[in-house]
Protein backbone atom coordinates (compact mmCIF):
# COMPACT_ATOMS: atom_id res chain seq x y z
CA UNK A 1 0.00 0.00 0.00
CA UNK A 2 2.64 2.53 1.02
CA UNK A 3 4.88 1.19 -1.74
CA UNK A 4 2.20 2.05 -4.27
CA UNK A 5 1.75 5.50 -2.81
CA UNK A 6 5.48 6.23 -2.93
CA UNK A 7 5.56 5.06 -6.52
CA UNK A 8 2.62 7.25 -7.53
CA UNK A 9 4.18 10.23 -5.79
CA UNK A 10 7.52 9.78 -7.49
CA UNK A 11 5.75 9.37 -10.85
CA UNK A 12 4.01 12.72 -10.41
CA UNK A 13 7.27 14.32 -9.29
CA UNK A 14 8.84 13.01 -12.50
CA UNK A 15 6.09 14.52 -14.64
CA UNK A 16 6.29 17.82 -12.81
CA UNK A 17 10.06 18.07 -13.31
CA UNK A 18 9.89 17.21 -17.01
CA UNK A 19 7.00 19.55 -17.70
CA UNK A 20 8.66 22.44 -15.86
CA UNK A 21 11.87 21.97 -17.84
CA UNK A 22 9.83 22.00 -21.05
CA UNK A 23 8.10 25.19 -19.90
CA UNK A 24 11.40 26.90 -19.13
CA UNK A 25 12.60 25.95 -22.61
CA UNK A 26 9.47 27.11 -24.42
CA UNK A 27 8.28 30.20 -22.54
CA UNK A 28 11.01 32.55 -23.82
CA UNK A 29 10.15 31.84 -27.46
CA UNK A 30 6.43 31.90 -26.77
CA UNK A 31 6.76 35.28 -25.06
CA UNK A 32 8.60 36.67 -28.05
CA UNK A 33 5.92 35.33 -30.40
CA UNK A 34 3.20 37.07 -28.37
CA UNK A 35 5.23 40.27 -28.26
CA UNK A 36 5.70 40.28 -32.02
CA UNK A 37 1.92 40.75 -32.42
CA UNK A 38 1.59 43.63 -29.94
CA UNK A 39 1.61 47.32 -30.68
CA UNK A 40 4.72 49.41 -30.18
CA UNK A 41 3.29 51.07 -27.08
CA UNK A 42 2.36 47.74 -25.50
CA UNK A 43 5.76 46.13 -26.13
CA UNK A 44 7.61 49.02 -24.52
CA UNK A 45 5.14 49.54 -21.70
CA UNK A 46 4.05 46.17 -20.33
CA UNK A 47 5.06 42.51 -20.23
CA UNK A 48 3.77 40.17 -22.96
CA UNK A 49 1.80 38.09 -20.44
CA UNK A 50 -0.52 41.00 -19.70
CA UNK A 51 -1.97 40.63 -23.23
CA UNK A 52 -3.12 37.06 -22.65
CA UNK A 53 -6.65 38.01 -21.64
CA UNK A 54 -9.73 39.03 -23.57
CA UNK A 55 -10.27 41.26 -25.40
CA UNK A 56 -7.17 40.40 -27.41
CA UNK A 57 -5.45 43.37 -28.98
CA UNK A 58 -3.07 41.80 -31.44
CA UNK A 59 -1.80 43.48 -34.58
CA UNK A 60 0.45 42.58 -37.53
CA UNK A 61 1.77 46.12 -38.00
CA UNK A 62 5.24 45.21 -36.68
CA UNK A 63 5.57 42.56 -39.36
CA UNK A 64 4.56 44.98 -42.10
CA UNK A 65 6.87 47.67 -40.78
CA UNK A 66 9.89 45.47 -40.28
CA UNK A 67 9.51 43.70 -43.64
CA UNK A 68 9.17 46.88 -45.66
CA UNK A 69 11.41 49.08 -43.55
CA UNK A 70 8.65 51.72 -43.53
CA UNK A 71 5.74 52.61 -41.32
CA UNK A 72 2.53 51.92 -43.13
CA UNK A 73 -0.86 53.32 -42.34
CA UNK A 74 0.12 55.92 -39.76
CA UNK A 75 -0.69 59.40 -41.00
CA UNK A 76 -0.03 58.39 -44.57
CA UNK A 77 -2.57 57.59 -47.22
CA UNK A 78 -3.50 53.92 -46.94
CA UNK A 79 -1.19 51.89 -49.14
CA UNK A 80 -2.51 49.31 -51.49
CA UNK A 81 -1.39 45.75 -50.89
CA UNK A 82 0.66 45.88 -54.04
CA UNK A 83 2.95 48.65 -52.86
CA UNK A 84 3.55 46.83 -49.58
CA UNK A 85 4.64 43.80 -51.58
CA UNK A 86 6.90 46.02 -53.65
CA UNK A 87 8.46 47.49 -50.53
CA UNK A 88 9.08 44.05 -49.11
CA UNK A 89 11.19 43.07 -52.08
CA UNK A 90 12.90 46.31 -53.04
CA UNK A 91 12.93 48.24 -49.77
CA UNK A 92 15.53 48.31 -47.05
CA UNK A 93 13.57 46.26 -44.56
CA UNK A 94 13.79 42.64 -43.54
CA UNK A 95 12.03 41.58 -46.75
CA UNK A 96 15.17 42.41 -48.64
CA UNK A 97 17.29 40.70 -45.96
CA UNK A 98 15.14 37.55 -46.21
CA UNK A 99 15.77 37.50 -49.94
CA UNK A 100 19.50 38.01 -49.34
CA UNK A 101 19.53 35.11 -46.88
CA UNK A 102 17.94 32.90 -49.55
CA UNK A 103 20.35 34.12 -52.22
CA UNK A 104 23.26 33.32 -49.91
CA UNK A 105 22.00 30.02 -48.51
CA UNK A 106 20.81 28.14 -51.60
CA UNK A 107 24.05 28.16 -53.63
CA UNK A 108 26.05 27.81 -50.40
CA UNK A 109 24.19 24.54 -49.86
CA UNK A 110 24.08 23.15 -53.39
CA UNK A 111 27.72 23.78 -54.35
CA UNK A 112 29.37 22.09 -51.34
CA UNK A 113 26.98 19.12 -51.45
CA UNK A 114 27.81 18.59 -55.12
CA UNK A 115 31.57 19.05 -54.74
CA UNK A 116 31.64 16.89 -51.61
CA UNK A 117 29.73 13.99 -53.18
CA UNK A 118 32.24 13.67 -56.01
CA UNK A 119 35.17 13.94 -53.61
CA UNK A 120 33.63 11.52 -51.13
CA UNK A 121 33.00 8.99 -53.89
CA UNK A 122 36.60 9.22 -55.03
CA UNK A 123 37.85 8.85 -51.47
CA UNK A 124 35.61 5.87 -50.78
CA UNK A 125 35.80 3.82 -53.98
CA UNK A 126 38.60 4.93 -56.28
CA UNK A 127 42.26 4.05 -55.92
CA UNK A 128 44.86 6.77 -56.25
CA UNK A 129 48.10 7.63 -54.48
CA UNK A 130 47.76 9.71 -51.32
CA UNK A 131 44.10 8.84 -50.87
CA UNK A 132 44.33 7.94 -47.19
CA UNK A 133 46.51 10.92 -46.42
CA UNK A 134 43.98 13.18 -48.10
CA UNK A 135 41.15 11.85 -45.99
CA UNK A 136 43.18 12.23 -42.81
CA UNK A 137 43.68 15.84 -43.83
CA UNK A 138 39.89 16.24 -44.14
CA UNK A 139 39.39 14.72 -40.69
CA UNK A 140 42.01 17.08 -39.28
CA UNK A 141 40.35 20.12 -40.85
CA UNK A 142 36.96 19.26 -39.29
CA UNK A 143 37.43 21.25 -36.11
CA UNK A 144 39.84 23.96 -37.25
CA UNK A 145 38.36 27.28 -36.05
CA UNK A 146 37.46 29.27 -39.12
CA UNK A 147 38.96 32.31 -37.40
CA UNK A 148 42.29 30.93 -38.67
CA UNK A 149 41.25 31.64 -42.25
CA UNK A 150 39.51 35.02 -42.06
CA UNK A 151 42.39 37.46 -42.52
CA UNK A 152 44.20 35.84 -45.47
CA UNK A 153 40.96 35.25 -47.34
CA UNK A 154 39.69 38.74 -46.69
CA UNK A 155 42.96 40.11 -48.09
CA UNK A 156 42.66 37.83 -51.09
CA UNK A 157 39.08 38.99 -51.61
CA UNK A 158 40.05 42.66 -51.43
CA UNK A 159 42.59 42.01 -54.19
CA UNK A 160 40.11 40.09 -56.35
CA UNK A 161 37.23 42.47 -55.51
CA UNK A 162 35.21 39.59 -54.08
CA UNK A 163 34.67 41.30 -50.72
CA UNK A 164 31.05 42.37 -50.34
CA UNK A 165 29.81 40.06 -53.12
CA UNK A 166 27.50 37.07 -52.93
CA UNK A 167 29.99 35.05 -54.99
CA UNK A 168 32.65 35.57 -52.33
CA UNK A 169 30.32 34.33 -49.59
CA UNK A 170 29.15 31.32 -51.63
CA UNK A 171 32.72 30.20 -52.20
CA UNK A 172 33.70 30.73 -48.57
CA UNK A 173 30.72 28.78 -47.25
CA UNK A 174 31.45 26.04 -49.76
CA UNK A 175 34.99 25.68 -48.51
CA UNK A 176 34.03 25.86 -44.83
CA UNK A 177 31.31 23.26 -45.36
CA UNK A 178 33.47 20.82 -47.30
CA UNK A 179 35.45 18.97 -44.61
CA UNK A 180 32.31 17.94 -42.77
CA UNK A 181 30.41 17.22 -46.00
CA UNK A 182 33.19 15.02 -47.39
CA UNK A 183 33.61 13.28 -44.04
CA UNK A 184 29.93 12.45 -43.66
CA UNK A 185 29.38 11.30 -47.25
CA UNK A 186 32.62 9.35 -47.48
CA UNK A 187 31.71 7.35 -44.38
CA UNK A 188 28.26 6.69 -45.77
CA UNK A 189 29.50 5.75 -49.26
CA UNK A 190 32.20 3.42 -48.00
CA UNK A 191 29.63 1.53 -45.94
CA UNK A 192 27.73 0.57 -49.12
CA UNK A 193 28.18 -3.12 -50.04
CA UNK A 194 31.15 -3.85 -52.27
CA UNK A 195 29.18 -6.29 -54.46
CA UNK A 196 27.21 -3.41 -55.92
CA UNK A 197 30.31 -1.89 -57.40
CA UNK A 198 31.81 -5.16 -58.60
CA UNK A 199 28.75 -6.25 -60.53
CA UNK A 200 28.37 -2.78 -62.00
CA UNK A 201 31.94 -2.66 -63.22
CA UNK A 202 31.59 -6.17 -64.66
CA UNK A 203 28.69 -4.83 -66.69
CA UNK A 204 31.09 -2.21 -68.03
CA UNK A 205 29.58 0.82 -66.30
CA UNK A 206 31.87 3.85 -66.02
CA UNK A 207 32.72 5.44 -62.66
CA UNK A 208 30.36 8.29 -63.37
CA UNK A 209 27.45 5.98 -64.17
CA UNK A 210 28.09 3.97 -60.99
CA UNK A 211 28.12 7.16 -58.99
CA UNK A 212 25.06 8.64 -60.61
CA UNK A 213 22.93 5.48 -60.93
CA UNK A 214 23.88 3.53 -57.82
CA UNK A 215 25.60 5.62 -55.16
CA UNK A 216 23.46 8.76 -55.25
CA UNK A 217 20.04 7.05 -55.15
CA UNK A 218 21.15 4.86 -52.24
CA UNK A 219 22.54 7.83 -50.33
CA UNK A 220 19.56 10.18 -50.43
CA UNK A 221 19.06 10.11 -46.62
CA UNK A 222 22.68 11.05 -45.95
CA UNK A 223 22.64 13.73 -48.64
CA UNK A 224 19.39 15.14 -47.24
CA UNK A 225 20.81 15.32 -43.70
CA UNK A 226 23.89 17.05 -45.02
CA UNK A 227 21.96 19.52 -47.15
CA UNK A 228 19.66 20.46 -44.27
CA UNK A 229 22.56 20.89 -41.89
CA UNK A 230 24.52 23.03 -44.34
CA UNK A 231 21.48 25.13 -45.26
CA UNK A 232 20.69 25.93 -41.64
CA UNK A 233 24.32 26.56 -40.82
CA UNK A 234 24.54 29.15 -43.58
CA UNK A 235 21.08 30.58 -42.88
CA UNK A 236 21.97 31.09 -39.19
CA UNK A 237 25.53 32.26 -39.80
CA UNK A 238 26.57 35.69 -38.65
CA UNK A 239 30.38 35.66 -38.58
CA UNK A 240 31.11 34.73 -42.21
CA UNK A 241 28.59 37.28 -43.46
CA UNK A 242 30.00 39.99 -41.20
CA UNK A 243 33.54 39.40 -42.38
CA UNK A 244 33.11 39.00 -46.12
CA UNK A 245 30.02 41.10 -46.81
CA UNK A 246 31.02 44.17 -44.82
CA UNK A 247 28.46 46.65 -43.61
CA UNK A 248 26.18 47.24 -46.59
CA UNK A 249 22.45 46.76 -46.12
CA UNK A 250 21.89 45.76 -49.77
CA UNK A 251 23.57 42.38 -49.32
CA UNK A 252 23.06 41.81 -45.58
CA UNK A 253 21.33 38.54 -44.59
CA UNK A 254 18.71 38.36 -41.82
CA UNK A 255 21.19 37.66 -39.03
CA UNK A 256 23.29 40.72 -39.88
CA UNK A 257 20.27 42.95 -40.32
CA UNK A 258 18.72 41.92 -37.00
CA UNK A 259 21.98 42.23 -35.11
CA UNK A 260 22.41 45.78 -36.40
CA UNK A 261 18.80 46.52 -35.37
CA UNK A 262 19.73 45.34 -31.91
CA UNK A 263 22.76 47.55 -31.56
CA UNK A 264 20.96 50.69 -32.80
CA UNK A 265 19.39 51.16 -29.39
CA UNK A 266 15.81 52.10 -28.75
CA UNK A 267 14.00 53.21 -31.85
CA UNK A 268 13.62 49.77 -33.46
CA UNK A 269 13.09 47.89 -30.23
CA UNK A 270 9.44 47.10 -31.00
CA UNK A 271 10.41 45.53 -34.34
CA UNK A 272 12.87 43.01 -32.89
CA UNK A 273 10.32 40.29 -31.95
CA UNK A 274 8.70 40.30 -35.39
CA UNK A 275 12.13 40.43 -37.03
CA UNK A 276 13.46 37.51 -35.02
CA UNK A 277 10.42 35.43 -35.90
CA UNK A 278 10.77 36.13 -39.59
CA UNK A 279 14.32 34.80 -39.37
CA UNK A 280 13.06 31.71 -37.51
CA UNK A 281 10.22 30.76 -39.86
CA UNK A 282 12.23 28.70 -42.31
CA UNK A 283 14.32 26.83 -39.70
CA UNK A 284 11.16 26.04 -37.74
CA UNK A 285 9.40 24.68 -40.82
CA UNK A 286 12.41 22.51 -41.63
CA UNK A 287 12.57 21.33 -38.04
CA UNK A 288 8.88 20.43 -38.00
CA UNK A 289 8.78 18.62 -41.34
CA UNK A 290 12.21 17.02 -41.66
CA UNK A 291 13.05 16.34 -38.03
CA UNK A 292 14.84 12.96 -38.42
CA UNK A 293 17.20 14.26 -41.13
CA UNK A 294 17.63 17.49 -39.26
CA UNK A 295 18.65 15.80 -36.02
CA UNK A 296 21.02 13.42 -37.78
CA UNK A 297 22.70 16.24 -39.68
CA UNK A 298 23.19 18.38 -36.58
CA UNK A 299 24.51 15.53 -34.48
CA UNK A 300 27.13 14.52 -36.99
CA UNK A 301 28.14 18.04 -37.87
CA UNK A 302 28.42 19.66 -34.50
CA UNK A 303 32.18 19.91 -34.55
CA UNK A 304 32.28 21.96 -37.71
CA UNK A 305 34.45 25.13 -37.95
Amino acid sequence: MTGKLVKALSRSALHIVIISICLVWTLPSFGLLVNSFRSRRDIVGTGWWTTLKTPFTFTVENYVEVLTGQTHGKGKAPDSRRSILGDIITGHGLGRAFLNSLIISIPSTLIPVLVASFAAYALAWMRFPGRDLLFILVVGLLVVPLQMTLIPILRLYKGLQLAGTFLGVWLAHTAYGLPYAIYLLRNFFSALPRDLFESASLDGASQFVVFYRIVVPLSIPAIASLAIFQFLWVWNDLLVALIYLGGTRDVAPLTMHISSMMSSLGENWHLLPAGAFISMVLPLIIFATLQPYFVRGILAGSLKG
Binding site: I18, T26, A119, M262
Partner: protein, 278 residues
Protein backbone atom coordinates in the same frame (compact mmCIF):
# COMPACT_ATOMS: atom_id res chain seq x y z
CA UNK B 1 38.03 15.65 -56.45
CA UNK B 2 40.04 18.40 -58.07
CA UNK B 3 37.51 21.07 -57.14
CA UNK B 4 37.40 19.86 -53.54
CA UNK B 5 41.16 20.00 -53.36
CA UNK B 6 41.08 23.53 -54.76
CA UNK B 7 38.67 24.73 -52.05
CA UNK B 8 40.49 22.99 -49.22
CA UNK B 9 43.84 24.40 -50.29
CA UNK B 10 42.82 27.97 -51.07
CA UNK B 11 40.32 28.47 -48.25
CA UNK B 12 41.73 26.34 -45.44
CA UNK B 13 45.30 25.14 -45.77
CA UNK B 14 46.89 28.23 -47.28
CA UNK B 15 45.09 30.63 -44.87
CA UNK B 16 46.02 28.53 -41.82
CA UNK B 17 49.71 28.71 -42.73
CA UNK B 18 49.42 32.35 -43.69
CA UNK B 19 47.68 33.31 -40.42
CA UNK B 20 50.35 31.52 -38.42
CA UNK B 21 52.95 33.57 -40.33
CA UNK B 22 51.09 36.90 -39.98
CA UNK B 23 50.89 36.37 -36.23
CA UNK B 24 54.62 37.09 -36.03
CA UNK B 25 54.33 40.31 -38.05
CA UNK B 26 53.25 43.83 -37.13
CA UNK B 27 49.94 45.64 -37.55
CA UNK B 28 49.93 45.58 -41.36
CA UNK B 29 52.20 42.58 -41.80
CA UNK B 30 55.06 44.82 -42.94
CA UNK B 31 57.71 44.03 -40.35
CA UNK B 32 58.76 41.05 -38.29
CA UNK B 33 57.98 41.58 -34.62
CA UNK B 34 58.79 38.19 -33.14
CA UNK B 35 56.55 37.20 -30.26
CA UNK B 36 55.19 40.71 -29.63
CA UNK B 37 51.63 39.81 -30.58
CA UNK B 38 51.66 36.78 -28.31
CA UNK B 39 53.08 38.88 -25.51
CA UNK B 40 50.16 41.24 -26.04
CA UNK B 41 47.63 38.40 -26.04
CA UNK B 42 48.80 37.18 -22.65
CA UNK B 43 49.42 40.52 -20.93
CA UNK B 44 46.89 43.06 -22.21
CA UNK B 45 44.17 43.51 -19.55
CA UNK B 46 41.30 43.26 -22.08
CA UNK B 47 42.72 40.07 -23.51
CA UNK B 48 43.22 38.63 -20.04
CA UNK B 49 39.62 39.47 -19.21
CA UNK B 50 38.52 37.68 -22.38
CA UNK B 51 40.61 34.62 -21.55
CA UNK B 52 39.21 34.60 -18.04
CA UNK B 53 35.64 34.79 -19.36
CA UNK B 54 36.24 31.94 -21.79
CA UNK B 55 37.44 29.93 -18.81
CA UNK B 56 34.23 30.80 -16.96
CA UNK B 57 32.23 29.73 -20.03
CA UNK B 58 34.27 26.55 -20.20
CA UNK B 59 33.50 25.54 -16.64
CA UNK B 60 29.89 26.72 -16.27
CA UNK B 61 28.59 26.14 -19.79
CA UNK B 62 30.18 22.73 -20.29
CA UNK B 63 29.25 21.31 -16.90
CA UNK B 64 25.65 22.50 -17.02
CA UNK B 65 24.86 21.58 -20.65
CA UNK B 66 26.30 18.10 -20.21
CA UNK B 67 24.79 17.31 -16.83
CA UNK B 68 21.42 18.86 -17.60
CA UNK B 69 21.37 17.05 -20.96
CA UNK B 70 22.08 13.80 -19.16
CA UNK B 71 19.41 14.39 -16.52
CA UNK B 72 16.78 15.23 -19.13
CA UNK B 73 17.75 12.20 -21.22
CA UNK B 74 17.39 9.88 -18.22
CA UNK B 75 14.12 11.44 -17.03
CA UNK B 76 12.36 11.59 -20.40
CA UNK B 77 13.34 7.97 -21.01
CA UNK B 78 10.66 7.07 -18.44
CA UNK B 79 7.63 8.87 -19.86
CA UNK B 80 5.41 8.29 -22.87
CA UNK B 81 5.67 11.83 -24.22
CA UNK B 82 9.45 11.52 -24.51
CA UNK B 83 9.58 12.49 -28.21
CA UNK B 84 7.52 15.65 -27.74
CA UNK B 85 9.47 16.80 -24.67
CA UNK B 86 12.78 16.22 -26.42
CA UNK B 87 11.64 18.06 -29.54
CA UNK B 88 10.78 21.15 -27.47
CA UNK B 89 14.17 21.16 -25.77
CA UNK B 90 16.03 20.53 -29.04
CA UNK B 91 14.16 23.28 -30.90
CA UNK B 92 16.58 26.16 -30.10
CA UNK B 93 19.25 24.31 -32.11
CA UNK B 94 17.31 25.17 -35.28
CA UNK B 95 17.40 28.94 -34.87
CA UNK B 96 20.29 31.36 -35.12
CA UNK B 97 22.20 32.68 -32.13
CA UNK B 98 21.01 36.09 -33.22
CA UNK B 99 17.36 35.05 -32.87
CA UNK B 100 18.13 33.34 -29.55
CA UNK B 101 19.74 36.58 -28.39
CA UNK B 102 16.64 38.60 -29.30
CA UNK B 103 14.49 36.11 -27.39
CA UNK B 104 16.63 36.46 -24.29
CA UNK B 105 17.07 40.22 -24.58
CA UNK B 106 13.37 40.40 -23.85
CA UNK B 107 13.63 37.89 -21.01
CA UNK B 108 16.43 39.91 -19.39
CA UNK B 109 14.84 43.33 -19.96
CA UNK B 110 15.27 45.59 -16.95
CA UNK B 111 13.25 48.56 -15.72
CA UNK B 112 14.16 50.47 -12.55
CA UNK B 113 12.39 49.29 -9.40
CA UNK B 114 8.85 50.60 -9.09
CA UNK B 115 8.15 50.60 -12.83
CA UNK B 116 6.24 47.72 -14.43
CA UNK B 117 8.80 45.12 -15.51
CA UNK B 118 8.43 43.98 -19.14
CA UNK B 119 11.08 41.24 -18.89
CA UNK B 120 9.70 37.96 -17.58
CA UNK B 121 12.67 37.26 -15.29
CA UNK B 122 12.41 40.53 -13.41
CA UNK B 123 8.63 40.33 -13.29
CA UNK B 124 8.85 36.89 -11.67
CA UNK B 125 11.56 38.07 -9.32
CA UNK B 126 9.32 40.91 -8.18
CA UNK B 127 5.94 39.16 -7.90
CA UNK B 128 7.06 35.73 -6.68
CA UNK B 129 10.06 36.55 -4.53
CA UNK B 130 9.48 40.24 -3.83
CA UNK B 131 13.03 41.06 -4.86
CA UNK B 132 14.45 44.15 -6.56
CA UNK B 133 14.84 43.87 -10.35
CA UNK B 134 18.29 42.89 -11.66
CA UNK B 135 19.99 44.52 -14.66
CA UNK B 136 21.01 41.13 -16.04
CA UNK B 137 23.14 42.35 -18.92
CA UNK B 138 24.65 45.37 -17.18
CA UNK B 139 25.43 44.19 -13.65
CA UNK B 140 28.96 42.80 -13.90
CA UNK B 141 28.26 40.21 -11.20
CA UNK B 142 25.64 38.43 -13.31
CA UNK B 143 26.01 39.46 -16.96
CA UNK B 144 28.45 36.71 -17.90
CA UNK B 145 26.13 34.16 -16.37
CA UNK B 146 23.21 35.65 -18.28
CA UNK B 147 25.06 35.18 -21.58
CA UNK B 148 26.16 31.68 -20.61
CA UNK B 149 22.50 30.96 -19.79
CA UNK B 150 21.53 31.76 -23.38
CA UNK B 151 24.22 29.37 -24.59
CA UNK B 152 22.93 26.67 -22.26
CA UNK B 153 19.38 27.20 -23.52
CA UNK B 154 20.58 26.62 -27.08
CA UNK B 155 22.96 23.68 -26.57
CA UNK B 156 21.42 21.51 -23.83
CA UNK B 157 19.08 19.90 -26.38
CA UNK B 158 22.07 18.82 -28.41
CA UNK B 159 23.73 17.13 -25.42
CA UNK B 160 20.40 15.55 -24.48
CA UNK B 161 19.87 13.93 -27.89
CA UNK B 162 23.35 12.41 -28.07
CA UNK B 163 23.30 11.22 -24.47
CA UNK B 164 19.81 9.84 -24.96
CA UNK B 165 21.04 7.79 -27.92
CA UNK B 166 23.88 6.50 -25.74
CA UNK B 167 21.42 5.62 -23.01
CA UNK B 168 19.25 3.59 -25.38
CA UNK B 169 22.37 1.64 -26.34
CA UNK B 170 22.66 0.12 -22.87
CA UNK B 171 21.23 -3.44 -22.91
CA UNK B 172 17.94 -3.65 -21.02
CA UNK B 173 18.89 -6.99 -19.45
CA UNK B 174 21.65 -5.35 -17.42
CA UNK B 175 19.23 -2.80 -15.97
CA UNK B 176 16.58 -5.43 -15.28
CA UNK B 177 19.07 -7.73 -13.59
CA UNK B 178 20.10 -4.87 -11.33
CA UNK B 179 16.47 -4.07 -10.51
CA UNK B 180 15.72 -7.70 -9.66
CA UNK B 181 18.72 -7.68 -7.35
CA UNK B 182 17.00 -4.80 -5.57
CA UNK B 183 19.25 -1.93 -6.64
CA UNK B 184 17.62 1.49 -6.30
CA UNK B 185 17.23 3.70 -9.38
CA UNK B 186 19.69 6.12 -7.83
CA UNK B 187 22.30 3.39 -7.47
CA UNK B 188 21.66 2.14 -11.00
CA UNK B 189 22.29 5.65 -12.32
CA UNK B 190 25.64 6.02 -10.55
CA UNK B 191 26.88 2.45 -10.78
CA UNK B 192 25.63 1.35 -14.20
CA UNK B 193 24.40 4.17 -16.45
CA UNK B 194 27.17 6.65 -15.75
CA UNK B 195 30.11 4.24 -16.17
CA UNK B 196 28.61 2.68 -19.29
CA UNK B 197 28.05 6.08 -20.89
CA UNK B 198 31.52 7.41 -20.15
CA UNK B 199 32.66 7.58 -23.77
CA UNK B 200 29.49 9.32 -24.96
CA UNK B 201 29.74 11.86 -22.16
CA UNK B 202 33.35 12.52 -23.10
CA UNK B 203 32.44 13.12 -26.75
CA UNK B 204 29.64 15.51 -25.80
CA UNK B 205 31.86 17.39 -23.34
CA UNK B 206 34.58 17.76 -25.98
CA UNK B 207 32.05 19.18 -28.41
CA UNK B 208 30.94 21.71 -25.81
CA UNK B 209 34.54 22.73 -25.16
CA UNK B 210 35.02 23.48 -28.85
CA UNK B 211 31.77 25.46 -28.90
CA UNK B 212 32.99 27.51 -25.94
CA UNK B 213 36.32 28.34 -27.56
CA UNK B 214 34.59 29.77 -30.59
CA UNK B 215 31.62 31.40 -28.89
CA UNK B 216 31.02 34.66 -30.72
CA UNK B 217 27.49 35.48 -31.91
CA UNK B 218 25.76 35.61 -28.51
CA UNK B 219 28.34 37.96 -27.03
CA UNK B 220 28.68 40.09 -30.17
CA UNK B 221 24.93 40.65 -30.41
CA UNK B 222 23.97 41.02 -26.75
CA UNK B 223 26.78 43.06 -25.20
CA UNK B 224 29.54 43.24 -27.83
CA UNK B 225 31.92 42.29 -25.07
CA UNK B 226 31.27 45.45 -23.07
CA UNK B 227 30.90 45.57 -19.28
CA UNK B 228 33.34 42.75 -18.68
CA UNK B 229 31.77 40.14 -20.96
CA UNK B 230 34.50 39.95 -23.61
CA UNK B 231 35.45 36.55 -25.09
CA UNK B 232 38.38 35.51 -27.31
CA UNK B 233 36.52 35.23 -30.62
CA UNK B 234 34.85 38.62 -30.20
CA UNK B 235 38.18 40.10 -29.22
CA UNK B 236 39.70 38.81 -32.46
CA UNK B 237 36.89 40.42 -34.44
CA UNK B 238 37.61 43.74 -32.71
CA UNK B 239 41.36 43.52 -33.35
CA UNK B 240 40.54 42.87 -36.98
CA UNK B 241 37.88 45.49 -37.69
CA UNK B 242 37.96 48.07 -34.91
CA UNK B 243 41.70 48.33 -34.26
CA UNK B 244 42.90 46.97 -37.62
CA UNK B 245 45.80 45.12 -36.04
CA UNK B 246 46.10 42.00 -38.16
CA UNK B 247 49.14 40.67 -36.30
CA UNK B 248 47.32 40.55 -32.99
CA UNK B 249 44.12 39.20 -34.53
CA UNK B 250 46.14 36.39 -36.09
CA UNK B 251 47.87 35.60 -32.82
CA UNK B 252 44.45 35.19 -31.19
CA UNK B 253 43.35 32.86 -34.00
CA UNK B 254 46.50 30.79 -33.52
CA UNK B 255 45.72 30.46 -29.81
CA UNK B 256 42.27 29.14 -30.75
CA UNK B 257 43.84 26.63 -33.13
CA UNK B 258 46.37 25.46 -30.53
CA UNK B 259 43.51 24.90 -28.11
CA UNK B 260 41.72 22.51 -30.48
CA UNK B 261 44.84 20.59 -31.59
CA UNK B 262 44.36 17.85 -28.97
CA UNK B 263 40.88 17.28 -30.40
CA UNK B 264 42.25 17.16 -33.95
CA UNK B 265 44.84 14.59 -32.93
CA UNK B 266 42.31 12.43 -31.11
CA UNK B 267 39.87 12.64 -34.07
CA UNK B 268 42.56 11.40 -36.44
CA UNK B 269 43.56 8.63 -34.01
CA UNK B 270 39.98 7.50 -33.61
CA UNK B 271 39.48 7.52 -37.36
CA UNK B 272 42.59 5.40 -37.91
CA UNK B 273 41.47 2.91 -35.29
CA UNK B 274 38.08 2.64 -37.00
CA UNK B 275 39.69 2.06 -40.39
CA UNK B 276 41.99 -0.57 -38.95
CA UNK B 277 39.00 -2.54 -37.69
CA UNK B 278 37.31 -2.63 -41.07
Amino acid sequence: MGSALFFLTVYLIYPILNTAFISFLGRNSEEFTGLDNYWYVFTNPDMLAALKNNLLWLVVFTSITVSLGLIIAVLTDRVRYEAAAKALIFLPMAISFVAASVIWRFMFEFRPAGMPQIGLLNALLGTLAGLEPVAWLVNTGVNNFALIGVGIWVWTGFCMVILSAGLKGIPLQILEAARIDGASEWRIFWRILLPMMRTTILVVATTMVIIVLKVFDIVYVMTNGNLGTEVIANRMYKEMFNYRHFGRASAIAVILLLAVIPVIVSNIRRFRAQEAVQ
